[in-house]
Symmetry: C2
Subunit: 342 residues, 2 copies
Amino acid sequence: MVSEQETSREKPRSYLESGVNIALADQFVGHIKNLTGHTAAASGKLLPGAGGYAAVYKTDSGLNVACTTDGVGSKLLLCEELDCFDTIGIDLVAMCANDIICVGAAPALFLDYYACGSLDLKRSTSLIEGIVAGCKLADMLLVGGETAEMPDLYQSNHFDLAGFAVGFVAEGKLLTGESLKEGDFLVAVSSSGLHSNGFSLARKLIPEGSPLRAELLTPTEIYVRPFLQVLNELGSELTGAANITGGGWTNLLRLNKDCGFALKAMELSPVFEELARHVEPAELYRTFNMGMGFAVMVRSAESARAAIDIFARAGFAASVQGQVKSGHGVEIDCGKSTIFLE
Amino acid sequence: MVSEQETSREKPRSYLESGVNIALADQFVGHIKNLTGHTAAASGKLLPGAGGYAAVYKTDSGLNVACTTDGVGSKLLLCEELDCFDTIGIDLVAMCANDIICVGAAPALFLDYYACGSLDLKRSTSLIEGIVAGCKLADMLLVGGETAEMPDLYQSNHFDLAGFAVGFVAEGKLLTGESLKEGDFLVAVSSSGLHSNGFSLARKLIPEGSPLRAELLTPTEIYVRPFLQVLNELGSELTGAANITGGGWTNLLRLNKDCGFALKAMELSPVFEELARHVEPAELYRTFNMGMGFAVMVRSAESARAAIDIFARAGFAASVQGQVKSGHGVEIDCGKSTIFLE
């Protein structure tokens, strides 16, 4: 819960000021890679899934196993504040499922870790109902979970959730990002709002009592079904996919270090307009999805139209938001100024 | 950290009094089963892995995928108290790997979820080094993870860890517990202490400053290598396996509802002796492993000797602790009295 102290002091203007140190996290991830990198490479058992969205383990059967884990961040605290627990489970599934499809895998299995200070049966059941609903939307089976009651670690009304997803991908369907090249079209697909990223900052910028605050809880879109249709119908015309998750539009940089992206600015819904009143544009695009939660890259304008069509039939607004360019970084044309993310 | 208030008030005599309501958790798990049960059954894609230690997903390739998730409970708080973070990662891997082998699967992949109030690079690196060490002992690859910095959810020095493991099992090797029958021998394998269970209670019973308190941090044994050897060498002579994890010796009840177990009491090491000064025997066996962290069931005395031999060569003390009997429940002969767990 946001304390009064917190709301009365000056509002943070960046994710770092809100208490989340992405640079330090990146440094930590570098450490982890050093610790695990050579082990994994030496085993020769991992395939190069695009952007590290999911690890892909090669089996002898030709059907490879993709897996990933994610949480919902401090969106949890908003659930507590608004006493609303029935959709955060959808977020949890979405965060994992939208990652796993980025390597071309079809999500299949989901497990959850749920830790709390004290087990409240009504609330816990709501949480799980959300997870079950999310699994249905993502065509996954909820096959396991762990419930941990830790009265001395969590305050009684606090809890945390982590999700774990397993999917399968035939080697020919694997998306690696390697075939991305200059001129490819980037189709961006509408989000339902912030999804589950940037809440440590957003909770401090959208005031309690604002109708926008309840809107923040809108569950994360699940892109599984239309995206798998795009994957199947477009084949090698589809050259990459990016879940616009933590790190906002810097997620594009994960796909292929030899490519850059030139995008036009997003049209902002009221919640992003409000965030933009407090935060510089580059920081916004580095933290939030800005209204578009998923991106697919395709070889031609015709394929872009086909992808847009498939997403539209599934109820998602999608449009060509830009193109792959030579060089590196993500350039966003905001009219008067240009943002550059790297 | 245990507050002064907590240490000065009367010590809890049960897991419930320590703030962990197992009965409520069981009720919650029942709810979850109702929510997910028919979905999973309808899919016909899940195989009956023993005791639900791991979900086993049937693939067309004949190599089935087992997965599970677990945490390390409030052993985390002891890490903070003793400022020791380098082995809790071993615990995390162990908790998952020891579950996954109970269905006959060989662990292969591990992912971690790490959430904290504020990212401390030194501590976080220690945690991951422990996970990497655990993965080596369990012959798993650390293939992914999520690091979440949530300043408003966790106190700055607090953190939580969850682990996810994936393994593989050929259909012929799957352990279901179905073949367990009266007369089978139960071989118990030594633990390294409490492993990662019962800490909400144990932390309140072993006083700060006691040398036993540091001993509580001993990492959980990883039974993967000797157990997989037992599985391979004994074949159908091996009728079941149980990780003696949360719930202590009631874990045996997960394997086959048509069987009971008759055991002799464990010989207690000093830490369990100390716990026994405060807690009734039935509650002890329902909460802790009591010095034996894993159990395998085999058809004959000869197979029991073979299993004991394999564990001994891997450095584990193992012995015949009892037998499978008709009826139900776990009966533990403590000389003057008999404990009955059901």
